[in-house]
């Protein structure tokens, strides 16, 4: 492999500044060559494998939108039978993971297959044109949770999937963000070297779906962490262990105001009530995970 051409990179067709594409590249750096990737339908499949081209330098199989975890179960069993030891890694969108794929994921985790399931969480269905998923944050404007005269966008908070999969007995569960590449790489390495089903959820901003300039992907990703709307943590055997602390937690405005999906909260005027609710979500996250280094939040 040349330096420009890593295990995931060459020839993909993602938008410039695509968070999920960056996630894939970092994930592959971490897993190395000895890996089989199972992918669900979504942006990543489409931008990385337009036949007869592929951006994958490892064996890769697309199955369906919803069955990556079950296909991975079969691959793992097949390898076991043949005495082979490649890492089996699912890389799937939040729609595939939070919504339609839950049955297969739950089954695979309950059975204890030795697989690493990574969700690149761009917080909506991007491939079909920015529809809401169970991972879409409260008040986000999507094409199926549009903001309007009688709506402030997505009416529900994010589903807590890490907790659900930890409750399945997953040995290792972690959240990560493309804005913290080394942390992400370490977590993926930890997951693939931990036996059993493991889960990592990677916050992966989508410039197109969220409405920001592709040069700002890392900055937007960092703001999610700095406001407490996204928390990077690790769970071992169901217990939260390591949490990325934030020194001076920023107000959620800093994150919301740079994305078109929250534009309706600032136009025509500032929607104090809704922004306060989102600030409360961030504060609750901070309290739950002990995010704040300084106990009192800086205004």
């Amino acid at each position: 492999m040349t330096e420009e051409c890593e295990l995931f990179e060459c020839g993909h067709r993602a938008c410039g500044g695509c968070g999920p594409a960056l996630a894939a590249r970092l994930i592959m750096k971490a897993t190395g060559e000895n890996t089989i990737v199972v992918a669900s339908t979504g942006c990543m499949e489409v931008f990385s494998t337009p036949y007869p081209e592929t951006a994958w330098g490892v064996p890769w199989i697309h199955s369906l939108f919803e069955n990556a975890a079950a296909v991975a179960s079969g691959i793992e069993a097949s390898l076991k039978k043949q005495g082979r030891d490649e890492h089996v890694v699912c890389i799937c969108g939040d729609g595939a993971t939070f919504d339609i794929g839950m049955l297969c994921i739950s089954g695979a985790f309950e059975r204890g297959h030795d697989i690493t399931y990574i969700c690149y969480d761009n917080e909506a269905y991007m491939n079909t044109g920015i529809q809401r998923s169970g991972a879409t944050p409260y008040d986000a404007d999507t094409t199926t949770s549009p903001a309007g005269k009688c709506s402030t966008g997505n009416p529900r908070p994010k589903k807590d999937l890490p907790a659900i999969l930890a409750a399945h007995g997953a040995a290792y569960v972690a959240t990560a963000s493309i804005a913290y590449p080394n942390d992400l790489i370490k977590k993926v390495q930890r997951a693939v070297s931990t036996h059993g089903p493991n889960y990592i959820q990677v916050h992966a901003p989508c410039c197109t779906g969220w409405g920001f300039d592709g040069s700002q992907t890392m900055a937007v990703g960092r703001l999610a962490v700095e406001t407490g709307l996204w928390v990077n943590y690790e769970m071992m055997n169901g217990e939260v262990e390591r949490v990325r602390k934030v020194g001076h937690r920023k107000a959620v405005d800093d994150y919301l105001s740079v994305q078109k999906r929250f534009r309706h909260l600032y136009r025509p005027g500032r929607n104090e009530e809704e922004i306060a609710k989102i600030q409360a979500i961030a504060d609750a996250n901070a309290a739950k995970f002990g995010v704040d280094l300084n106990m009192k939040k800086e205004e």
Binding site: Y51, W56, L64, A70, S78, K81, Q82, R111
Partner: protein, 384 residues
């Protein structure tokens, strides 16, 4: 060795002899006894396979897809609602050219809920790319598994295969079955030799997305593979006949057709009833015969044409219906006989497990003689 076995157990034993490396299946009546038997074979170390106890049929076939793509011989079994739940994966398995073998214990589809036999389930997947073989009795159900693996895995074919046998009528019936020895099957069916697999030493992408520039060629290739499967089936069936003395070289099988002017055409266990009825009708001087269709996919059009030289009237018996049209087999037989001058009539019968007796077959022969057909047979009169 001759044994008296329940159909399901005969099939499970046949599957064991095929040495699948991964089994993934979910219980559903009337398939359940097959998977239970396989699970206990694994538990007793009689079958050296990974048994994946999946949470649904959808995951069962998904796991088979993954396991096959990673290079193992795999097996599943289902029926009816379970097969319906697999629908999406069925197309994917065929599109990715994975030679998965799956037993279908044929059963009606709801609603209304009905656990009894007809063949609507597998017939509804006829366009998915899977090979479909239908067994008349438990000996044939057993033997078709050996043949199905060999045909499916042949590098000229590389397609998944359904071995279909009628729920309850065969699955739950005890019959004498001549079970081959492991050595004989090992000699007949070599270990799976995959062509393209997921292997970190030889990276390759499988099941990529294909634009209008390429998609059609994939369907064309799969269609070509179906057509090649005809000659491969005939070859494998002939080899089986030479080794085991039971002849499955024909995609169709005739009974008393030599001088027949009227013929029945059907799939599966009903052929047994038709044979008996034919013997009785022959005793009454009627020149009737039977053409059993063993392979519904690939469809043996030429073979059907060739098998009916003196026949002028055909009654096709369908345990399925393409609603608003006719039975699937009747439609395809009519297509195969187009231009032959043979009068083809279809009869929809035995849906949802309704019994068919010899007398019913004779009654259908009478209808055919009168030129009445293309109708449901044996309906309750209050709906008429």
């Amino acid at each position: 060795m001759m044994e008296i076995l329940e159909g399901s157990h005969a099939v499970a034993e046949a599957v064991r002899l095929c040495r699948p490396q991964v089994v993934a299946a979910y219980p559903i009546t009337p398939q359940t006894h097959i998977v239970e038997a396989l699970a206990s074979m694994v538990a007793d170390c009689k079958l050296d396979a990974e048994y994946i106890c999946v949470e649904s049929e959808f995951s069962a076939l998904s796991a088979c897809l993954g396991a096959s793509a990673a290079g193992s011989r795999v097996y599943s079994a289902t029926t009816s609602q379970g097969l319906a739940l697999m629908f999406e994966v069925c197309f994917n398995v065929a599109g990715m050219r994975q030679p998965v073998v799956m037993t279908i214990a044929n059963r009606a589809l709801g609603a209304p809920l009905n656990i009894w036999n007809d063949q609507q389930d597998s017939i509804s997947l006829r366009d998915s790319g899977w090979l479909q073989f239908y067994a008349e009795d438990n000996q044939e159900a057993t033997d078709l598994h050996f043949i199905a693996y060999k045909v499916a895995e042949d590098h000229r074919v590389l397609l998944p295969a359904m071995v279909c046998f009628d729920g309850f009528i065969l699955t739950h019936t005890y019959e004498p079955v001549d079970m081959p020895s492991q050595e004989a099957i090992d000699a007949f069916l070599p270990p799976y030799a995959p062509v393209n697999i997921l292997d970190a030493k030889k990276p390759m992408s499988l099941g990529m997305y294909a634009t209008p520039d390429y998609y059609m060629e994939f369907r064309y290739e799969t269609d070509q593979a179906q057509k090649r499967a005809k000659e491969v089936f005939a070859e494998v069936g002939a080899e089986f006949a030479a080794k085991f003395g039971r002849d499955y070289s024909g995609l169709v099988e005739g009974y008393r057709l030599e001088d027949a002017d009227m013929a029945f055409i059907a799939l599966g266990s009903i052929c047994g009833t038709v044979r008996e009825a034919i013997d009785e009708m022959r005793a009454d001087g009627k020149k009737v015969g039977l053409l059993k269709v063993r392979s519904f996919r690939p469809f043996p059009s030429e073979e059907i044409r060739a098998a009916l030289p003196g026949v002028s009237k055909v009654a096709v018996l369908d345990k399925n219906i393409s609603l608003g049209q006719k039975g699937a087999l009747a439609l395809e037989v009519r297509d195969a006989l187009y231009g032959s001058g043979i009068d083809v009539k279809g009869y929809i019968l035995a849906l949802g497990g309704r019994d068919v007796r010899q007398a019913d077959i004779k009654a259908i022969a009478d209808l055919l003689e009168k030129g009445e057909g293309d109708q449901f047979f044996g309906l309750r009169t209050e709906v008429l």
